[in-house]
C-alpha cells in the first residue's frame, strides 16, 4: 500500500499548493511514490482518510473553519502547515488590526450576507502540526525535501538562519549597503534563496521571522536609512506580519 497524501486549503491564494503542481516531472515521481488521495485542485473523485501525510494551506477566517481543521487533524498522521497563511495568518491577517465589519461594508454592498470571523489566524494556532513551513509561497524544494524525508522515515531538518546569511553565501550585493534600500533579510527566515536581494530589491519578510531575529536592531538600521517608525511598522506588517515577533515589534514602533 502506497502512503496516502492529502492537500487541504483554507483562506489563501492557492500559490502554495500550486508549488506541488509546479514540480513538473517530480510531481509524476511523487504520484508514483504516494497515493495522492485528496487534492481537489488537481483531481476529482478524492478518497476519504485517514491519510499518512497532509499538507494544509491557508488561514482560518470563517466560523466553520476550526471544526473542519480539527477533523483534518484527526484524519492525518503527519500534518504540515505550508505557507505564510497557514503558519502566520497571511496578508489577510491585516484585518486583525481593523474593524472587520467596516471591511465588509467597504468591499460588499450587502455585508450581512457574509459569514466571516473578525480575525485571520494560522492553522498552527488551532491544532498541533508536525511541521510548519513558512513562505509566501512555500519553497518547492523545501516542501519536497520534507515530504521525501517523511516518506523515508527520517526527521526533516529545517534551517533556522536568516535570509541575510543566504545572501552573503550567494555573493549577492547587499541592497542596504549598495542601494540604501530597506531590507528585512537580517530578521527573515531562510527558504527563498534570498530571491529579493538577488533581484536587486529589499526582502519583504514573506518567510516570517528568523529564530535569531533582532528586531530592535533592524528598526535602528531602518531609521538610519530615513525610514519612519510608522513605515518600519508597516513593513513588518506584511505577509507574515501576524507572526508574534513581527507583530510585537511593529506594535512597539507604532
Amino acid at each position: 500500500m502506497k502512503p496516502k497524501l492529502a492537500v487541504f486549503k483554507f483562506a489563501s491564494c492557492d500559490g502554495c499548493q500550486l508549488q506541488v503542481l509546479n514540480a513538473g516531472t517530480e510531481l509524476l515521481a511523487l504520484a508514483d511514490a504516494v497515493d495522492i488521495a485528496w487534492f481537489p485542485e488537481a483531481r476529482s473523485a478524492g478518497r476519504p482518510g485517514p491519510y499518512d501525510v497532509g499538507l494544509v494551506e491557508g488561514s482560518v477566517t470563517t466560523p466553520d473553519d476550526v471544526a473542519r481543521l480539527q477533523r483534518i487533524r484527526a484524519d492525518v498522521r503527519y500534518l504540515i502547515a505550508i505557507g505564510a497563511c497557514a503558519t502566520a495568518g497571511g496578508i489577510q491577517a491585516l484585518r486583525n488590526r481593523a474593524d472587520v465589519d467596516e471591511f465588509k461594508r467597504a468591499v460588499y454592498p450587502r455585508p450581512e450576507w457574509l459569514a466571516t470571523l473578525p480575525t485571520s489566524t494560522p492553522v498552527t494556532e488551532h491544532v498541533p502540526v508536525d511541521l510548519a513551513l513558512p513562505g509566501c509561497p512555500v519553497d518547492r524544494q523545501q516542501l519536497f525535501a520534507v515530504v521525501r524525508a517523511l516518506l523515508a522515515g527520517t526527521r526533516p531538518l529545517l534551517p533556522g538562519h536568516s535570509v541575510c546569511l543566504d545572501c552573503k553565501r550567494a555573493g549577492a550585493a547587499c541592497v542596504v549597503v549598495t542601494q540604501a534600500e530597506p531590507c528585512l533579510g537580517p530578521v527573515t527566515s531562510t527558504g527563498c534563496g534570498a530571491v529579493c536581494p538577488r533581484m536587486g530589491r529589499g526582502c519583504y519578510g514573506c518567510f516570517g521571522p528568523a529564530a535569531t531575529a533582532n528586531l530592535p536592531a533592524l528598526a535602528e538600521m531602518f531609521a538610519t536609512l530615513g525610514i519612519s517608525r510608522e513605515d518600519t511598522a508597516r513593513r513588518l506588517r506584511g505577509f507574515a506580519g501576524n507572526a508574534a515577533p513581527f507583530r510585537e515589534a511593529s506594535d512597539a514602533l507604532a
Binding site: 491564494c13 509561497p137 530571491v195
Partner: protein, 434 residues
C-alpha cells in the same frame, strides 16, 4: 432520466480542478428550469479594504497574493494603474519585458488549465495522474510547457509563484541580452510542444453550444493585447480603459461571496477570457498562429464556450512566438525603472489576465498612501455568463443521465478556468428534477 421519478436530489462528488470553493444548484421541474445558482463561497479576504493605508508601491506585491496562479496579472494591472496616477512614462524596453513576463504567465497558467484541469473532462479521467497512466507523453508535454512559462517568470521575477521583480516604473533588475539566450533555446524547443498541444485539444469531442454572447476584451491597434488597448466587445462596445466603471457594474447576490458583474447598458452578462480575446483580436495572431488556429477546424470567431480550451491552446502557441519576438527585439533600458514621485491622484488600468480583463483602480493621498482601491477580477465578471451558459444547457441536461449531466455542468464551468482562489475546492453539484 426515468419519467416516473417525480422529484430527485442528486449529490455528486465535489467538483475539483477549479481554484476555489463553489457549488451549483440546478432545479428542474416538469422540464422547466425552476432555479439555477452558481454559488462561490470562498471566504473573503478584503484586499480592497486592507490596501488602504499601505504605500502605493506595495500594491503590486500585495495584490499578487489574490491569486497564486496569475500573480503577474495583478502586478501588471497595479503598476499600470499607479503609473497612470503618477504620470510615469516607462521605457520601451520595459514595455517589452512586461509583455515577455505576461507571456510567461499565460503559458504557465494555460498549460496548467489545459492539461491538469480541463483535459481530463474530455478524456474521461479524474486527474492528471490517471491521464498520465493513459497518455504519459501528453502529460509530460504539458508539464514541459508549464515549465517554460515558469522559466520566464523566474528569469524576470526570481520565482514563478509571487515573482518579485515588478515595480512601479519598471523592474527591480533587468536582464542583459545574453541572460535571455537559454530562455530563447527553451522557447524554440517548446514551440513544437505547443503545436502538438493545439492539435491534441482540437481533436477533443467538444459539446456544441453556439449562442449569442457578448465577448469583451482589450484591443490594441497593432498587437495582441496585454497591458494596453481599448475595451471592445462583439456587441460594439468601444471604450477607453479608464471608462471601465462606466461600462461594467458589479453587484452582489446572496448566494455568492464573489461579486457578479454585468454591462451597465442592458444589465446583461458578458464573457471575458481567451475565447473573447481570440474572437476580437484574431487579426493580431500573426500568420503562422492564425493558420494553426484555422487548422483546428473551428471557424473563428466562435461563440461556443466549449471552444475555450482550444482558444487557450492557440494562445500558448501565440505566447511562445511573442516571447521569442520580445527576446529578439530586447535591448536593455538605460535604467531598470523610471523614477517617480507619489502624489495625490487616482489611476486605473485594465490588463489581460490569463482568464480575461482585470481592472484595478487606486486613489492615493499626498503622502503616497492608498486611500481607496477597487479590483474587478475576470472570474467575477464571468460569473453571470457561466450561469447563462448553464441555463442554455438545461434542455440537454434533461436528456442525460446524472453522471453525464454532472460532467457537462462541470465542463461548462471549467470553460472559464474559474479562479475562485479561496477555501476548499468543491463544487457540490445538486440537481433536483422531476
Amino acid at each position: 432520466m426515468p419519467s416516473h421519478e417525480r422529484s430527485r436530489t442528486i449529490h455528486v462528488e465535489p467538483l475539483a480542478r477549479v481554484e476555489g470553493e463553489a457549488s451549483l444548484r440546478v432545479e428542474i421541474r416538469n422540464g422547466a428550469l425552476v432555479d439555477l445558482k452558481l454559488s462561490i463561497f470562498e471566504p473573503p479576504r478584503f484586499f480592497e479594504a486592507f490596501l488602504r493605508g499601505r504605500r502605493a508601491d506595495e500594491a503590486p506585491d500585495i495584490t499578487s497574493r489574490i491569486c497564486g496562479i496569475c500573480p503577474v496579472a495583478y502586478q501588471m494591472s497595479a503598476v499600470h494603474a499607479l503609473e497612470r496616477a503618477f504620470a510615469v512614462r516607462i521605457d520601451p524596453a520595459i514595455r517589452l519585458l512586461r509583455r515577455l513576463l505576461y507571456c510567461g504567465e499565460w503559458i504557465e497558467s494555460h498549460a496548467l488549465h489545459v492539461h491538469m484541469l480541463a483535459a481530463p473532462d474530455f478524456l474521461g479521467c479524474d486527474s492528471i495522474v490517471t491521464l498520465a497512466a493513459r497518455d504519459r507523453a501528453a502529460v509530460e508535454r504539458g508539464l514541459r510547457l508549464k515549465r517554460v512559462g515558469d522559466a520566464i517568470l523566474e528569469l524576470l521575477g526570481g520565482r514563478s509563484v509571487h515573482p518579485v521583480g515588478v515595480r512601479i516604473g519598471g523592474f527591480s533588475r533587468v536582464p542583459r541580452r545574453r541572460d535571455l539566450a537559454p530562455l530563447r533555446e527553451a522557447l524554440l524547443r517548446a514551440r513544437a510542444d505547443a503545436e502538438a498541444c493545439l492539435a491534441w485539444v482540437a481533436g477533443f469531442d467538444l459539446p456544441q453550444a453556439e449562442a449569442a454572447t457578448e465577448f469583451v476584451a482589450l484591443r490594441h491597434t497593432d498587437e495582441y493585447p496585454f497591458n494596453e488597448g481599448d475595451l471592445v466587445s462583439s456587441a460594439g462596445l468601444a471604450a477607453v480603459q479608464t471608462e471601465f466603471e462606466d461600462q461594467f457594474h458589479e453587484y452582489q447576490e446572496a448566494h455568492s461571496t464573489a461579486l457578479f458583474a454585468r454591462r451597465q447598458a442592458g444589465s446583461t452578462p458578458y464573457f471575458v477570457g481567451p475565447l473573447a480575446r481570440l474572437n476580437l483580436n484574431f487579426d493580431h495572431l500573426g500568420d503562422d498562429v492564425a493558420a494553426a488556429a484555422r487548422a483546428t477546424g473551428i471557424a473563428w470567431p466562435c461563440s461556443n464556450p466549449f471552444a475555450s480550451i482550444v482558444a487557450r491552446a492557440v494562445e500558448i502557441l501565440w505566447a511562445i512566438d511573442e516571447a521569442l519576438r520580445c527576446i529578439e527585439a530586447y535591448e536593455p533600458p538605460a535604467a531598470p525603472a523610471a523614477a517617480w514621485e507619489p502624489r495625490a491622484a487616482s489611476g486605473s488600468a485594465v490588463t489581460e489576465a490569463p482568464r480575461g480583463i482585470l481592472y484595478h483602480r487606486y486613489d492615493v493621498d499626498a503622502a503616497g498612501l492608498i486611500s481607496g482601491a477597487k479590483i474587478v477580477p475576470p472570474t467575477s465578471q464571468n460569473q453571470a455568463q457561466m450561469e447563462a451558459d448553464l441555463r442554455r444547457l438545461v434542455p440537454r441536461l434533461l436528456e442525460l443521465g446524472d453522471d453525464e449531466a454532472t460532467r457537462l455542468c462541470e465542463t461548462a464551468i471549467r470553460n472559464y478556468d474559474p479562479c475562485i482562489s479561496c477555501a476548499t475546492h468543491f463544487l457540490n453539484l445538486e440537481i433536483i428534477r422531476s
